[in-house]
C-alpha cells in the first residue's frame, strides 16, 4: 500500500474516533437530558462518517476497484440520527424531564 494512502486512512480514522469520543464525553458530562442530546446526534454521527470514509479508501485501494458501499452506512445514519433524536426529545418533553437552571423558555410552564 502506498504510504500516502496509509496516512490518509490513519488521519480519517483518528478524526472519526476522536469525534465519537467527544460525543460520548458530551453524553457523560453535560448537565441535563436536552443538552446531552446534542453529543450523540452530531459528534457520533460524524465520527462514524470519518471511520467509514477511511474504510472506503482502504478497501478501494486493496481491491483495486472503487468500493462505495460503505457510503450506505453513513447515508443511513445521517437520515436516522435526527429522527431518533426528535422522538427522544419529544418523549422527554412529555415526561417533563428537568432542564438546567439557565435554560430559557421552558415549554411546559
Amino acid at each position: 500500500m502506498p504510504f500516502w494512502i496509509e496516512v490518509l486512512v490513519s488521519v480519517f480514522l483518528i478524526i472519526g474516533s476522536l469525534f465519537a469520543l467527544i460525543g460520548a464525553i458530551g453524553l457523560y458530562r453535560l448537565p441535563d437530558f436536552y443538552t446531552r442530546l446534542h453529543g450523540p446526534t452530531k459528534a457520533t454521527t460524524l465520527g462514524v462518517g470519518g471511520v467509514v470514509i477511511a474504510s472506503m479508501i482502504f478497501f478501494s485501494n486493496q481491491n483495486d476497484s472503487l468500493s462505495l458501499h460503505e457510503l450506505l452506512i453513513t447515508l443511513f445514519l445521517f437520515l436516522t440520527a435526527p429522527v431518533s433524536a426528535h422522538i427522544l426529545a419529544k418523549a422527554a418533553m412529555q415526561q417533563k424531564l428537568p432542564a438546567v437552571e439557565q435554560t430559557r423558555g421552558k415549554p411546559w410552564d
Binding site: F3, E6, V7, V9, S10, L13, I14, G16, S17, L18, A20, L21, G23, A24, I25, L27, Y28, F33, R36, L37, G39, P40, T44, T45, G47, V48, V51, V52, A54, S55, F58, F59, Q62, N63, S67, H69, E70, L72, I73, F76, L77, T80, V83, S84, I87, L88, K90, A91, A92, Q94, Q95, L97
Partner: protein
C-alpha cells in the same frame, strides 16, 4: 503505520463505549438510558468497521449495516413506547 493507528483508535472507541455504559447504568431517567443505548450501538458499529479494516476483510460491512438498522428500529420503538405506552398506533 496502520498497525499502530488501528489499536489506538480501538482504544479511543473503547473509552467512548465505557462512558456510554456509565451513562446507561447511571442515567437518571428512561430517555437518558435509551439515548445511551443508541450511542452505544453507533460506537459498536464504528468498532466493527474498524475491525474489518484491521483484518482487511470485506465481510464485516453487512454486520455493520444490520447493526445500524437494528439500532435505529429499536430506538424508535422504545421512543414510541415512551411517548404513547404503545408501539404501533
Amino acid at each position: 503505520m496502520l498497525a499502530y493507528v488501528i489499536p489506538l483508535c480501538m482504544a479511543v472507541l473503547g473509552v467512548a463505549a465505557v462512558l456510554n455504559v456509565v451513562r446507561l447504568v447511571q442515567g437518571p431517567d428512561m430517555p437518558d438510558r435509551v439515548l445511551a443505548l443508541d450511542t452505544l450501538y453507533i460506537n459498536a458499529l464504528a468498532l466493527i468497521v474498524l475491525f474489518g479494516i484491521w483484518l482487511a476483510s470485506d465481510l464485516f460491512f453487512e454486520a455493520a449495516l444490520l447493526i445500524a438498522v437494528m439500532g435505529f428500529v429499536s430506538t424508535v420503538a422504545v421512543g414510541k413506547h415512551l411517548l404513547h405506552g404503545d408501539i404501533i398506533d
